[in-house]
């Protein structure tokens, strides 16, 4: 052990959550120096940015640096952005197959925390993906995993706990603040969950539709009778899609439909004509224009309440 450099030792201790031992060397981590002693945290979507900020407060400097339009799940950041992730003290990733770009860039595993690991066994596998075969290796599938994990508030709490543990390992001296941050967040998420459960309890058997298959975990948690189509908020579905939709309504008579974003007025009108009320339930993968993750989730809960009003 004597030949280990101070830097290497710090690396080891931090990776193991033994930072107080590393602290006895007066050698600030490169990134720490840059952030004035704050832990530099990068995330691969907005909810984790929010969670890390709620828990870490002044001890962290959290970035989710996506500036382009689009869904963070399918983002492909440029080299400069990847370098910023490499230089971070901590990278919080959603996991569950979200943001696959992370698997194709090189990050130090000791810095990367998969926040869905706490419920890895409960992840929902999407079954209808194509399986194919070529060469001698046998069949394989490009099947995916449902990744909007945070829409289940219980899972969001588990993710928050993972974030708390990761920051605490690197900033053990801030334990009191971090604990307080987690507690507040846990309370808010539990409140959200209670509100959602209560809303659905009004009419637990009511069928519901979704414009996109992103609500799997929410549906599982709340026991929703949810069927999804593949409609984009900014597009008008073709007549063929409408007729398939009507057929679906025939065997799944839903009165409400969840949308990731506001559908085009013409689409909304036609839906209402079919007796289906569109409501926006934004998964909030990106920071909303106003408010934050929690206000957005509460707005989503309000939308659900409207759909389940008796």
């Amino acid at each position: 052990m004597t030949t280990m450099t101070t830097l290497a030792r710090t690396l080891v201790l931090v990776s193991l959550g033994l930072a107080p031992l590393a602290g006895c060397h007066d050698e600030p981590h490169a990134a720490e120096g840059r952030a004035g002693g704050r832990l530099v945290v990068y995330t691969d979507q907005y909810p984790l940015e929010y969670i890390a900020e709620r828990i870490g407060g002044d001890h962290v400097e959290v970035h989710f640096p996506m500036t382009e339009d689009g869904d963070p799940a399918f983002w492909n950041p440029g080299d400069d952005v990847v370098r910023r992730y490499q230089e971070a003290d901590l990278v919080l990733r959603n996991g569950a197959g979200y943001a696959a770009w992370i698997d194709k860039v090189t990050l130090a595993p000791s810095k990367v925390v998969d926040c869905s690991k706490g419920f890895a066994a409960d992840l929902i596998v999407i079954k209808n993906a194509v399986t194919h075969q070529h060469g001698p290796e046998g069949k394989h599938s490009h099947s995916g995993t449902a990744f909007t994990t945070w829409l289940d508030p219980s899972q969001a709490i588990t993710m928050a706990e993972a974030v708390h543990a990761a920051i605490l390992a690197r900033r053990p001296e801030a334990r009191a603040d971090l604990d307080r941050g987690l507690e507040g967040l846990r309370r808010d998420l539990a409140g959200l969950e209670a509100r959602l459960v209560a809303a659905v309890q009004q009419a637990p058997d009511r069928p519901l539709l979704a414009s996109h298959p992103v609500y799997q975990y929410l549906a599982r948690r709340l026991g929703l009778h949810l069927e999804s189509v593949h409609w984009e908020p900014g597009e008008v579905p073709s007549e063929e899609e409408w007729s398939r939709f009507e057929a679906l309504l025939g065997r799944h008579p839903a009165k409400g439909m969840l949308w990731e974003d506001t559908p085009l007025p013409v689409v909304a009108e036609r839906l209402r004509g079919l007796g289906v009320t569109p409501e926006v339930y934004d998964p909030c993968a990106r920071k909303p224009a106003t408010g934050d993750f929690m206000t957005r989730m509460q707005a989503d809960a309000a939308a659900l309440e409207r759909l389940y009003r008796p």
């Binding site: 030949t3 080891v12 990776s15 370098r83 490499q86 090189t106």
Partner: protein, 391 residues
């Protein structure tokens, strides 16, 4: 003294042929054992330093020497691979930082080491030119690897199979050189590094190809959700921004192969605790302290070296005796000369001094030549032992 040196030098210069033979044989007498000793001790030092800087290694059960040589020096026989889950097992133990090492393939005839960024941090390897690994398909070169391959940032290097006979699964992948590391004076200088995921692509676990679901010509048969590709489906030999999204891994990452896990515990207690975890009777992996393994290996080397030194010593003694005999015989031939000196007024001490100066010159000349030989061959011999031992 000056006079004695002058006379001695004149004598040796006059009989330069004889002097040269004496000097050369003495030089060899000095050079061979010292050179051997130096070579071994220097190589041993370098090996030991590397081992001492690598606290623990986890690998498949089997030869601990193979494991250490492969994981630390990228040489020798590759041990059986272990699954990625072993990396997580070490990391999750909380006793050590786990750095995976995948040392199976070569790139441009040099070892290709698949690992993670933690490796560079742990070894203190800095990027001297270009940048660090960023994406799948990137590599960084050790300082000497860059020199030997004549490559730098922006260039490409093609991977090669383990052996020329390994034609089955592995196909060459063109790696993009992102950067060149600063010299570190160790095996890292002569290696090509890539992300472990890239190594898996080389191994064929991960690959990229055109999307079969949309390919008009690549489908052999379609059964329900299963599409079988035909021979026209092209696997990409180079990972580019255009095709990187098509790269994917098959199976569970937990089962992906790793040559060894470099485990870095923060202190002796954690080290002991981690080692304790590998002591079970059903344990399929071994954990080794590289310094200990190397000490055992080197003690064998030193035993052999001891015999060689003994043999060389005997040969040396014989040579020395022969040289002494030559010298004494030459004294007999010089009896008249020495008597003249005595008659003229030289003391026996002065004559002894003169002869000593001659011997001194011979030894000095021999030592100089031996030192020159050592200096000249030092660079060439560097690493020779390593290659001899592990090659």
């Amino acid at each position: 003294m000056k006079d004695a040196l002058h006379l001695a030098l004149r004598y040796l210069a006059h009989y330069r042929g004889r002097s040269l033979v004496l000097v050369l044989s003495l030089a060899l007498l000095l050079f061979v054992p010292i050179g051997l000793r130096l070579l071994i001790s220097r190589s041993a030092e370098a090996l030991s330093a590397r081992a001492a800087a690598s606290p623990l290694l986890v690998g498949a059960k089997g030869s601990s020497v193979d494991l250490v040589l492969r994981a630390l020096y990228f040489e020798g026989r590759a041990p059986e691979p272990i699954p990625w889950s072993e990396v997580e097992r070490v990391q999750d133990s909380g006793h050590a930082l786990a750095i995976p090492l995948h040392v199976r393939f070569r790139a441009g005839r040099l070892p290709l080491v698949g690992t993670t960024l933690d490796y560079f941090g742990f070894r203190g390897l800095e990027v001297a030119r270009g940048g660090q690994l960023i994406r799948l398909g990137d590599c960084v070169l050790g300082a000497r690897a860059a020199d030997r391959l004549g490559l730098g940032p922006g260039d490409a290097v093609v991977t090669s199979p383990e052996t020329v006979f390994d034609v089955a699964g592995v196909y060459p992948l063109e790696l993009r050189v992102r950067g060149v590391l600063a010299p570190s004076g160790g095996p890292d200088d002569e290696a090509v590094f890539c992300a472990i995921e890239t190594a898996w692509v080389v191994e064929g676990i991960g690959h990229g190809h055109e999307d079969l679901a949309t390919s008009p010509t690549g489908v052999l048969k379609r059964e329900g959700d299963t599409i079988t590709g035909n021979a026209s489906v092209q696997e990409f030999r180079r990972i580019t921004p255009d095709n990187i999204d098509s790269f994917h891994f098959h199976g569970d990452r937990a089962g992906f192969p790793v040559t060894a896990v470099l485990a870095v515990p923060p202190d002796a207690r954690a080290s002991a605790l981690l080692q304790g975890r590998y002591q079970g009777p059903d344990e399929a992996r071994q954990i080794v302290v590289p310094a200990k393994v190397l000490d055992e290996l080197l003690s064998t080397v030193f035993t052999v070296e001891g015999f060689v030194t003994l043999a060389l010593g005997l040969v040396g003694l014989a040579t020395l005796l022969t040289a002494a005999l030559v010298f004494v015989l030459s004294l007999r031939l010089r009896a008249r000369e020495l008597a003249t000196m005595r008659d003229i007024g030289a003391s026996p001490a002065r004559i002894r001094m003169l002869l000593l100066c001659e011997v001194g010159y011979l030894v000095l000349g021999a030592a100089t030549i031996a030192a020159l030989l050592l200096a000249l061959t030092g660079g060439l011999l560097d690493g020779l032992l390593r290659r001899t031992l592990f090659g």
